[in-house]
Subunit: 271 residues, 2 copies
């Protein structure tokens, strides 16, 4: 017998993974978490029916949400990650010469599963520079500040993470940033939902001087085309060099990923 | 009841399309051709179990296989398309000020189905500048010449189109090009098969002075990351401006699409 898990990308499109086994299934206070063993992509973390990461392609997402903002900042020392309980974003941040990384994850169960089953992703939890806060990111940001970079590694704009895509939250973030601070956030697929990333850009543009959309190829996410934004009051440009090995990102991609297809540019003109 | 068609991307990954109806099914002398009506992507052309194009995202593939080489040539007048029986590449070529387009498709049934059911793709067959040759491209190229641009819009390097990825074929193409001529070819997904595009680049580098790999996001192709190559004896750079509307491609993408993720660069160092 063959077992398949399929993620519905829309009502009418699905991506199927052939499955070896269900490794773990936890219903936490917040969400339904599955960890599956797949034949093609290694371990697959699914939350509320949505693919969060696979061992085989997680490096693309995590490199792209971390290295562009970190290399835009001239000397990032204190970094905040909101979400990202699997630890992948923290792992990439810790490749830079930072002093402290604060990871604010609402759901402790995600952290537990990652630490138990995904050591290549969650390794950074062993690093003394990493401070884990099991807390709602929206509350955390109101009480804390002096971050050079804030990375919002959450689920999509439509759903439980909605509050992380609002003007109020972005204003709290801005207050929590140091001068020259920068944020990055994942914004879903512009192929199926170009309006989402354009709305985020529009809201951020009311609060920050510079906002840039950028893209990456993520094979296990809907459409394979994924968007991120960076926002700062200082110009978005490469201020430092990459001095460690990466599998996807490089300094040329810093700029090329900001080049958008016409259909996204046209959509964003509406907002 | 719900009906789904799933393409196997590998043995262990599949993309499923929810289907309204089977519009046409023809077993031609060469291949098994299905045209399906889908809910998400409009009409879907499947040949021998492989997605060839959908009405919703075909513009990305066709713009990207055509406009980069056409804008690299200083004044393309005579263009050859090998494969591309659906007519999409020809439609894009005819947006440029060319004199003649020769389309060499081995399978007349593909042309018939496209002309009957895919008017938005096959419209160029009505253009008097388009000359259709129902013939094997490998034979055609030996007997014809004086093309400014040759576009190889075939199925993948592994399978029936294998002969279109060989040194012998590339030498015949070079002989058939005018001075300053350029070719483009689709090269499959570098995420699942980075070795394929690297091999093509390596073979072409023995024959042409300049060879460049470039990428595009194609949601309905395996992994969503698709590769193409351009090859010429003149430098690969933008020599003309785009003077018509496009949905994906633009002049910045001409260059940004040539920026490759590290994992592809590293694979290509082996060849």
């Amino acid at each position: 017998m063959e077992f398949w898990y399929s993620e519905m990308h829309t009502q009418n499109i699905k991506l199927g993974f052939r499955i070896k086994e269900e490794i773990e299934h936890v219903r936490s206070k917040y969400q339904d978490i599955h960890l599956l063993g797949t034949y093609e992509y290694g371990k697959l973390l699914v939350i509320d029916g949505t693919v969060q990461m696979t061992e085989r392609d997680e490096y693309i997402y995590h490199e792209m949400i971390v290295h562009p903002p970190l290399l835009t900042h001239k000397a990032p020392k204190k970094v905040l990650i909101i979400g990202g309980g699997d630890g992948g974003a923290a792992r990439e941040v810790l490749k830079h010469k930072v002093d402290e990384v604060h990871l604010v994850e609402i759901d402790e169960e995600v952290v537990k599963i990652a630490r138990k089953y995904l050591p290549s992703v969650a390794s950074s939890y062993e690093n003394p520079k990493l401070h884990l806060h099991i807390e709602n990111g929206i509350e955390f940001i109101k009480k804390n500040k002096n971050f050079d970079v804030i990375i919002i590694d959450s689920t999509d704009p439509v759903g439980p993470a909605e509050g992380l895509f609002t003007e109020e939250f972005y204003k709290d973030m801005k207050r929590a940033l140091t001068e020259g601070g920068i944020i990055s956030q994942q914004c879903g697929t512009p192929f199926y939902h170009p309006e989402e990333v354009c709305k985020v850009r529009s809201i951020l543009s009311n609060i920050f001087e510079y906002v840039g959309i950028y893209l990456a190829y993520i094979p296990t996410y809907p459409s394979g085309m994924w968007s991120f934004v960076m926002a700062s009051d200082e110009e978005i440009k490469l201020r430092r060099h990459l001095d460690f090995k990466t599998n996807y990102f490089n300094e040329e991609i810093y700029y090329s990923s900001m080049v958008l297809p016409n259909f996204i540019k046209e959509e964003c003109e509406k907002y």
